[in-house]
Symmetry: C2
Subunit: 203 residues, 2 copies
């Protein structure tokens, strides 16, 4: 077994290091985050860092680096307070990945990458019509991670839109059957196959 | 399409709500976190919340709820400063899930669930012998999420141990071929199949 220590890490070429540590943490979620500025100009970007923080109240988080293309998403969320999470399905991974390109502020990734905006219940932020599982969130709090200046953005889920058939009796959503993909690292998209659903574990 | 709003959320039965919001954020990573207290008494617990925060420096985070079984993990990390992440592979999902049971402090989940402790390079925390991808981390910072009293724990990767053949030329680790699983919600474990690896996207 290979041992990589701090000395070998410090000698890694920068893109190699990015790929190594982006994959070695394990599989990631795949969500398109939809926002709009105060004038309704929309933005859409793929994020592989959406995480569950709690169910009651329903809180989800995601990580962003203020120095990258994500900045449009951040600015829209801070100015309007609202944003959407839209699952990425197998049928449109190519278009979804394309939203990670650095488009200028005037360009909406909805149009540039071929997604259709959808609005429900007078919510300010746009949903992605192509997605079968969509959430509408309200910004709650943010945490600056001082070790590398990334930001954890936390929001409360106000709305969920999905096919009722995807919800099992116990409340869990069958995201595998919905065709939702998972991401490894920055570039690889994967399909999932169910192995086993366990019960609540007891000693 | 079903619309779930704040009113329907407030009427959800508690376990239903937990399952719904634990699945709807997307797929999760599967890691066993290994720790030891100051006397070397070990603890092992599965976490589905490990996330990548940055590659340079290599920072990974995970979420824990201080009010649950995770507390042993938290106390050991805060007291000793060190912990390990060990990928969960398809071959031992049953044992890995069993570590989520509420064992008392005197019981080591290594022994109770059938895992073997492994120590490398005088690192205080135990690795899991059965895992093919293992990381040794040092605690860096924590953030209390005030909205629900969960904690984001951030650590720096000091060591990585893995089969050299799993590392591609670009530095990315082939965690799918390693048999690393992904988790949906709290109970479901899934295998992955590669769909496509894209390039860095340009407008």
């Amino acid at each position: 077994m290979l041992h990589i220590d701090t000395d070998s890490i410090s000698k890694m070429q920068s893109r190699y290091q990015a790929n190594f540590f982006n994959t070695v943490s394990g599989f990631k979620s795949a969500n398109l985050i939809g926002t709009a500025n105060q004038n309704g100009h929309t933005n859409l970007a793929i994020f592989n860092s959406v995480i569950h923080l709690g169910a009651k109240p329903p809180l989800l988080g995601f990580i962003l680096r203020p120095t990258t293309v994500d900045r449009h998403t951040y600015e829209n969320i801070k100015k309007t307070g609202y944003y959407t999470f839209n699952h990425v399905h197998e049928s449109f991974i190519e278009k979804a990945h394309q939203t990670s390109a650095k488009y200028d502020r005037k360009t909406s990734e909805f149009e540039a990458c071929g997604f259709e905006e959808e609005y429900f219940d007078r919510f300010h932020a746009p949903y992605v019509k192509e997605s079968h599982i969509k959430l509408g969130l309200k910004f709650k709090e943010e945490h600056l991670i001082t070790a590398n200046d990334t930001i954890l953005i936390i929001g409360k889920v106000l709305h969920a839109y999905l096919d009722e058939k995807l919800i099992a009796e116990d409340g869990s959503v069958d995201i595998s059957s919905a065709g939702t993909v998972t991401i490894s690292g920055l570039y690889e998209y994967l399909r999932t196959t169910k192995l086993k659903k366990f019960e609540y574990a007891k000693p």
